[in-house]
Structures are given as C-alpha cells and as structure tokens.
Symmetry: C2
C-alpha cells in the first residue's frame, strides 16, 4: 500500500464498496491504482495498472467462508452477516495455453461443488491455516476454532487431507498456514502425513511452473 506504487486492484463489488467507504484506502490514488470488479463466474483478462496485458485471465468463484473480521455484525446471528462472495477462490489461466491453477487461501468447507471444480486440476493452492480445528485453543493463544474463523482444518474429517485424496490433482500446496500449525515443522509427524498425502507446504520464494 505504498502511495506511488502502481498496481490494479481486483475485488468483488461488495469489497470495493468497503474500500470506497474507508478513508484509509484513499492512499491508493485512482490514477495509480485502478479498481476493477470481479463478478462470480465471469472470466476476465488480468491487466496491469497501465492496461498492460498479462496474458492471464481470472475467474472468481464463491467458497464457504466468512465476512471479514472487522465487518462482523454479531446481531446478524450465525455467519455475522456473511453473504455469498465474501470469500472467493480464484482460477488463474494462461489465455494462450489454458494452463491454470487455483488459489483458495481461505475456505470453510469442501463442498461437492468445490470438489467437482478442482477435480483433475494441475495445481491448487489451498487454505492450510490449521491442522486441527481447536488448535489455537489447545495452544493457549486464542479462543476461536477454525470453524469460527472460516477455515476448515487440514486433518479434520472432511478437511483437505481427506477430501482431496480422490480428486486427481497434480500438485497440492498449503498456503495461509498459521504459526500454530505443526505442519510447519519439517520433522513433525503432521508434515510427514501431509507429504504422504501428496501435499507441499508453501515457503517464501517457491516457484511453480505449469
């Protein structure tokens, strides 16, 4: 969010409204940082701040999740006012070749629809926040479960370790991994279990080719 760094800001319309109504985001000058609306299920070209074509296109799709923490409305009941599209996954494709990957850093549940979408994918980056749903509580560093935060834990029933096993995905990478997650530890049994199931734990500087 540096004042003079050009980039294009892609987001759902509801998120743009939040940003438009928050003075602090005025640091992003419109002539420097264009804001572009993503629509669920529409494929659109990804272009740089100056309109430079990237050769890539993106599609946003809704995944189970939760409204941003600072927008939660406790009076709205379960879900805190969450609407469809408040949490999205992205499919990014090279227009010329169709090579693609999925980026889903936050996801509360693996629905049949999501599983069908990911089946046979070349590369999926997926929410690896927690190993167990009560991990923050067990570690004494928080009071929230993964379910409360909108993250399905890796190793819980219905979590990605189980649910991705039969989807025939070529490469599976955990991202958004919390610092309480034992999968970080190279010698932990949890890391071994994740790798045994075909997962990679993302690290800074990793590069992936399609």
């Amino acid at each position: 969010l540096r004042e003079g760094q050009p980039f294009a800001l892609y987001a759902m319309r509801r998120i743009h409204e939040v940003l438009d109504n928050n003075a602090i985001f005025r640091v992003l000058r419109p002539d420097c940082v264009p804001r572009r609306v993503l629509e669920l299920g529409e494929v659109q070209a990804l272009n740089g701040a100056g309109g430079l074509a990237s050769g890539l296109e993106v599609e946003a799709f809704a995944v189970p999740g939760k409204i941003a923490l600072y927008l939660e409305d406790p009076e709205a009941g379960p879900g805190f006012g969450t609407r469809e599209g408040d949490t999205v996954g992205l499919k990014v494709s090279e227009t010329a070749t169709g090579a693609s990957f999925f980026f889903i850093p936050s996801c509360a549940a693996l629905t049949p629809e999501l599983a069908a979408r990911l089946e046979g994918a070349q590369l999926v980056f997926f929410d690896g926040t927690l190993w167990r749903d009560d991990e923050l509580i067990a570690a004494g560093v928080g009071t929230k479960t993964g379910e409360r935060m909108g993250h399905v834990a890796i190793a819980e029933p219905g979590g990605p370790l189980d649910a991705f096993a039969t989807l025939g995905i070529e490469r599976k990478v955990f991202v958004h991994v919390n610092n309480t997650n034992p999968v970080w530890l190279r010698d932990a049994p949890e890391r071994a279990a994740a790798e045994e199931a075909g997962w990679t734990v993302a690290e800074d500087g990793m590069e992936f080719s399609l």
Copy 2:
C-alpha cells in the same frame, strides 16, 4: 495488527477518533489492545497491555508536519486541514534515572522551540526521509517535494545537517529514510557528509544503550 497480539496503543486524541471511526481497526479488540490518549506536554507512564509497568515514561510534543495523507482535505487550503499535534515527536525517559531519548521520525521544519528542546540531548532519532527536497521528482518516482510531504530534507538549508550542528547532541540517528535517499549508500559522498557531521544512519537490528 494481528488479531490476538496484546499491546497498548498510545496516540493523540484526534488520531484515536480517526481509529474509532474506522471499521478496519475493530480487529484490535479493546480487551486485547487498550487505547491510551497522549496529551501534548504531559508526561505519562508507559505501561504494557496488561498494565505492566515498563519503568519508562513518555512525553509527546508537537512538531511542524502534516495531517495523514488519507485525511487530507484539498479544500482546506495550504496544510490540508492539519492541526497542531497531527505530527508529534516523543521524549522517552527511564523514570528511575532520567536517561532519555527523542524519537522524531517526521518533521517539516526545525523551529527554534524544537532546537531548544533537543539541545544537549543524549540521543535523538530524527526524520531522514530525504536528502534533497526535490529528490523524488529528480529520481522520477514521484511528484511531491519533501515540503509537500511534511519532511525537511537532510541537506537543505535549515535541515538537520545544518541545524543540529550546534546543539551539542551526543548521538544523532537518521530514521524513516526513504529508498531514494543516497545516504543509504555506504560509499556515497552524502553518507560521508552525514557521518562527518556526527550522524548515524539507522539499520535493522541496531541497539542503543543510555
């Protein structure tokens, strides 16, 4: 700004009002991050989030500067609606010994009042954003002068290189140094000139003892 990390947030009243009125800062839970008001010219104890005494005390004082970028009101004319206390310096002291340092990462001009306050100080951290007032423009990375941004440039007439020379300050350290400032370069003549004048350029991990 992690959700569960306790710290105490000290700020001027006007800044607290900005934070209070901006939804995004609700991520800082009141039971985890107490907000405490600094008043100009009042010395107060610095305590941790749980009330733990640090043995330190702090005094905020107004320095020439500018309102935050995202709060600028172009219709307010020169100064964009800036009021006294929108930019402050801090004097931090050890209560038991009186040992102290000044922290002034943003300052638009060295007034006689500020010079008098700093005279004979043990240690001063000072705004080193720019070497020259038009540095961003000359480098082609921006359109604003230091004056427009609320920073007095190190080497301009009336800047700290000149103005601190006669104040008898034991240690002088430049902080908040922009990436266009040649003082970063160890072999640059500007670095040599700063060191010749008794200045240190701060780097990550530096420690200072009083």
